[in-house]
């Protein structure tokens, strides 16, 4: 048995490391650099019912230890994702987590229903936390009642387990987590980006044409860890953790906080090989730390690891 295999609702993963949604497209580009088969899973770009162009450029800005993005959920639309992007990924032995987005409840339901039927989609990630679109997105993720209702409705139509992606831009993330748990979510993914901004010194105008954007990268790691630490102690759902992960050490820190798997976002842009590198380094790091299986790390900072036998593959 590998020290990295993980069982999560809908997902039998050879390892708990995957690229985060929006930071890896639908895998094609990175497949030119390494064999995608090494990945535990893959969170593909958000899909909406219709194709979207997203926001005007500039869409990214650098910040200290991080970056802002305001892509605005650009994607080729449900039809193309289901007919072209996902089938292309079938040649890899990688269960896909499809990121579901929209402006209205109906949008989410439409995408979830259809995309959850695609054979290599093993789970959905309900994106109720995108800060870069005018309607939908984060509005669902900051209101517990809306989050719960949406989760329920998506659960009702989805053929695969549903993970809900939480926004960190809330006063009480535990409240939202409990609401989506009550709505029937199978798991959580957290965190999406913090809303931030940069202003150009010379023009005095926001660098992003959308003005604000989502802050990601190493800078947000402590916020992600804190939220996972809090939520993992209050809900029973497994958490796929993300937010600033750069290294195998970071992965362990996320597990200690309470995560059962992790996703890597921004760091793919800095080092396109970050996922395979982390996957390669993890077993040795575990040995060094005297840990026989990575699942034993989950929640260790607050003493959860004793209860976790069921997580192992």
């Amino acid at each position: 048995m590998s020290s990295l295999s993980i069982e999560l609702p809908g997902l039998s993963l050879k390892n708990p490391v995957m690229p985060a949604s929006g930071c890896f497209g639908f895998g094609k580009e990175y497949s030119q650099l390494f064999d995608l088969n090494v990945l535990g899973s893959m969170m593909v770009k958000a899909t909406t019912p219709e194709p979207r162009f997203g926001n005007s450029t500039p869409r990214v800005a650098e910040t200290p230890g991080g970056m802002l993005n305001a892509i605005g959920l650009q994607n080729p639309g449900l039809e193309k994702v289901v007919m072209e992007e996902l089938p292309w990924l079938e040649k890899f032995d990688v269960p896909i987590i499809a990121n579901v987005a929209g402006s209205t409840e109906e949008d989410y339901i439409r995408v979830a229903e259809r995309i959850s039927k695609v054979p290599n989609v093993h789970a959905l990630e309900l994106n109720i936390s995108c800060p870069n679109v005018k309607t939908g997105g984060i509005a669902f993720g900051t209101d517990p009642e809306m989050a719960k209702e949406l989760t329920k409705k998506v659960k009702a139509v989805s053929e695969v387990p549903v993970y809900v992606k939480l926004s960190p831009n809330v006063t009480d993330i535990v409240k939202i987590a409990k609401a989506v748990e009550a709505g029937g979510a199978d798991g959580l993914t957290m965190i999406n980006t913090l809303v931030g901004m940069r202003i150009d010194l010379h023009s005095a105008k926001p660098i992003l044409s959308n003005r604000t954007g989502g802050l990601s990268g190493a800078a947000i790691k402590p916020v992600a860890l804190r939220m996972i630490y809090e939520v993992s102690q209050q809900v029973r759902l497994p958490i796929i953790g993300m937010g600033g992960i750069q290294s195998a050490e970071d992965v362990i820190e996320f597990f200690y906080a309470g995560a059962s798997a992790v996703a890597v976002g921004t760091q793919n842009f800095v080092d396109p090989f970050v996922c395979p590198t982390i996957i390669e380094e993890l077993p040795e790091l575990l040995t060094k730390l005297g840990i026989s299986h990575i699942s034993e790390c989950t929640g260790r900072s607050w003493g959860k690891h004793e209860q976790l036998a069921y997580h192992r593959a």
């Binding site: 497209g25 580009e29 194709p51 979207r52 450029t57 970056m67 993005n69």
Partner: protein, 258 residues
Amino acid sequence: MRKELCEVVSNLCIADSIYELTLSGAMVNEMNEPGQFVHVKVSNGLDPMLRRPISIASINKDEGKFTIIYRKQGRGTSILAEKKQGEMVDILGPLGNGFPVEEAAPRETAILVGGGIGVPPLYELAKQLVNKGVQVINILGFQNESAVFYESKFAKLGETYIATVDGAYGTKGFVTDVITEKSINGDILYSCGPTPMLRALETAGYAPKVYLSLEERMGCGIGACFACVCHVKDDPSGYAYKKVCSDGPVFRAGEVAI
């Protein structure tokens, strides 16, 4: 495309705030088109975090070297300017699609129009065109005299005109002023430089075929993050797009909205 630690062969200040960095690495063998770029990690660690896209200015396959030319500007390029011979720099490349040399036939005339830090990729282009027997006319615009670089290198490859905004050197004004003044025309025009310049060239009709290299803020540099998209021109749906990093940075004039 590969990620490689390339060794600094030299890093010279060749004009006011302009540096010429020559690197050696195996990726040279994959560099085929002029106008492609590399994505440079200027420091280990977080500060700064993102890679910087810089055009390839010159390729030397025999010696396994290539050159990039950049303006020291913000934090990233300032750190790059400090690199010393023998240091290793993390490079992702070559990236994107460059200028189509095959679109110019031997003995045709190509007009190469560069503005500021848009000049560098035209140098490798000029070399390859001349190599193929294409006649090149180079029109290079700079802010002022102290910013001028590579004039004599271009002059060796073809007629070369310089424009400076203040007129203290070369023609006063913009590259378009040179073209009008000297009534230059050709079979094909290639250009790289600031967007207003590219817009002017797109509509001016100085040549039947026009290719423009665009700039956009980038994340991944390889087509995965959707940071650098532009609209496809005359697209009724409004959601057709091209990525500057992987579909471009060079586009045929009229292909995308600039």
